[in-house]
Subunit: 217 residues, 4 copies
Amino acid sequence: MVREASALGARRLQATEGVLPHSVVTEGTRGRILDAALRLFAEAGYAGTSIREIAAASGVQSASLYAHFPSKEHILAELAKIGHNEHHRALRAALLESDPSPANQLAAVVRAHVLMHTELSMLAVVSNTELHSLSPEMAAPVMATRDSSVQLIQEVIQRGVDLGAFDPPHVWLAVAAIGAMGIRVANWFTSDFELGAEEVADVYAEFALRIVNSQDR
Amino acid sequence: MVREASALGARRLQATEGVLPHSVVTEGTRGRILDAALRLFAEAGYAGTSIREIAAASGVQSASLYAHFPSKEHILAELAKIGHNEHHRALRAALLESDPSPANQLAAVVRAHVLMHTELSMLAVVSNTELHSLSPEMAAPVMATRDSSVQLIQEVIQRGVDLGAFDPPHVWLAVAAIGAMGIRVANWFTSDFELGAEEVADVYAEFALRIVNSQDR
Amino acid sequence: MVREASALGARRLQATEGVLPHSVVTEGTRGRILDAALRLFAEAGYAGTSIREIAAASGVQSASLYAHFPSKEHILAELAKIGHNEHHRALRAALLESDPSPANQLAAVVRAHVLMHTELSMLAVVSNTELHSLSPEMAAPVMATRDSSVQLIQEVIQRGVDLGAFDPPHVWLAVAAIGAMGIRVANWFTSDFELGAEEVADVYAEFALRIVNSQDR
Amino acid sequence: MVREASALGARRLQATEGVLPHSVVTEGTRGRILDAALRLFAEAGYAGTSIREIAAASGVQSASLYAHFPSKEHILAELAKIGHNEHHRALRAALLESDPSPANQLAAVVRAHVLMHTELSMLAVVSNTELHSLSPEMAAPVMATRDSSVQLIQEVIQRGVDLGAFDPPHVWLAVAAIGAMGIRVANWFTSDFELGAEEVADVYAEFALRIVNSQDR
DNA sequence: AATGAATGAGAGTTCATTCAT
DNA sequence: CATGAATGAACTCTCATTCAT
């Protein structure tokens, strides 16, 4: 059975909920703008969304947006920052709470990676696919966070290799592959999926352990 | 070591060559339009590219585009069709030429999947990330091809499971994960990578076999 | 002596003044847009007038028009509405103020009809010759008003027939003929004409009474 | 009962047949172009019709039009010439064939005027409402013909006045009114009308005689 | 904070016309 | 005669942004 439904055109993601993380203040007009922009950017992309559409979805006039953000680009930058910070925070928290064994660490980190992409799928899609619309200056801090997250996963795997617990054919490719499969989850996951987010995360953790050929799983 | 360079803003792909497959005619103005549009869509996205930019990169006036394509959307549709057809053709050819053993089949298909994303990375990026810009009617045939490709991989894995050769925790998730990791290759692969395309394909084939826990690898 | 001058090409109307009725607010940018559009539509037609010409004649940029009207078509619709409303209002007022005798009523209505076409000749020309440029939806309310005006004249004549005061060879044709001759006045009347508007109106009222063979004139 | 139907938007004329006079050669591509242009100009106006639409309706490419006419304007000029020539020819023929009495002459001329507007309504509408789209140079010969036709009617009426047979309140206004009522017939007449063209022409001839207060009718 | 009006630039598309074939 | 391709100009309309209120 093929999963990704072909009805109604190609959607960039299936989810319609789970917009901004609770940790970010969403109240007030500024919050409504971020929320509206996130939904629209996720659906139609940054370039495909107009400032007037964001305004309309926020219940204000377009001129009012400029009382909260200096430009359209700053809205995207804020969303991307929130997204990548949230992602990085989740990875770090998972690592902190896990057993020191490489297998446990990798499983924990991959689970966090996947769960972030199921729970905040809009934010993940926008943060991952719209970065190129930011100027280098505005993209830089976000990319630093992203690189830092990649490095975190890479260090977990490298440690497993160094300790003889993992044996991937190529460390960086393993990081790339494991990262990639988690990122794509945001594009198809919905609460209607036959498995819950936790179960999907478990399966993907198992995939990651297999990729690195973990001795202990 | 983190691979994806953070300089000069976030690029959607690293490759600057490997545009259209040799199998499609690229001669004449129509070909130059497709070629130019592909490069621009890959870099800046469909909505972020103007008809005048495509024209300028094709060496004609914007009005001349309309002698070859009835609308901007038709250019994207043509590119997406070429991309997904080429992808599907590569998967089918790989399957036809491989040994009938499930492991050989999966390795062959994954290698073809990855190689397509290294050799035609621009086409792959555009075909995968800009489909949402097509109207449902124009997207439909392309999505049908895409679904068909997903199904092909799924059938290979399912056959391995049925024959007792594979043991993935979840068939469809394995398909999703294997597909995802290959798709992402288009975003970072360049001929400057420390491994060649063939080597990357081999490593990813190994990843796939591990994901399905192939007995024979 | 032939009246309609042949110099300088065929003008659609001779008048250069008498644009919008005093009853409609003409102040502000919106008013200037309506005024400018009316002059241009009268001269060159709706399709022959560009949004930039309207903007230039209004003293704003073309984009600013869209703060006042959602489309070029809406400008024409507004003008046509004003024109037909003003026409209908004039006919009704004339009927209300006239003696109840059929001859007096017909004379009053025809005078109002003609005077409207001398005083608001631009509005009359545009309202009568550009309706076909409106979509059916936007034309509908205007055409309802127009039909209502035709009916008003028809009822006056029918009443005269029923009372034995009029004897036209065909009621509806009499309405059509009387209406037509008044409408055309907008195309040639100017303040330079050897007769004033009132005198022309009197003559046309006499024509109308003759057409219906009024016993009392 | 109100005649002019309000359904389907405001049409500029009701007739869908009766395009070009038999006297004009309509065969070959040139004829098909004239025919197509006439229908389109009648429906949407000169400025509202594109050269490509004319070409499509003629069954050729737009470039082919230029093998037959040097510009779009020349097509309109040709149609307007045909229309006004046909009109003038009809008036002159009617005058030649009629009794020398002023009443007979006026009736004959008005009948011809009206019949031309019923039989060649498209040509009449275009010739009358699109002249302003011609440059002064191209409009001049057509307008000369038109003026000549007006003068013909005027001379008939003036002769009636001089002979004591007619008594209009104002000669030129009588010409204008009689001309106007006939011109408008083209906008509403169809073969579905309750009266035939001949009957309408008879009624309008009667209207004209009444307008000039003919002693003999 | 929020707005309505305004702007210059640019969007996708169509225009009438030309030209080599 | 007819065409497909091309053009420069122009089309209606939308863009992100500004500003006085």
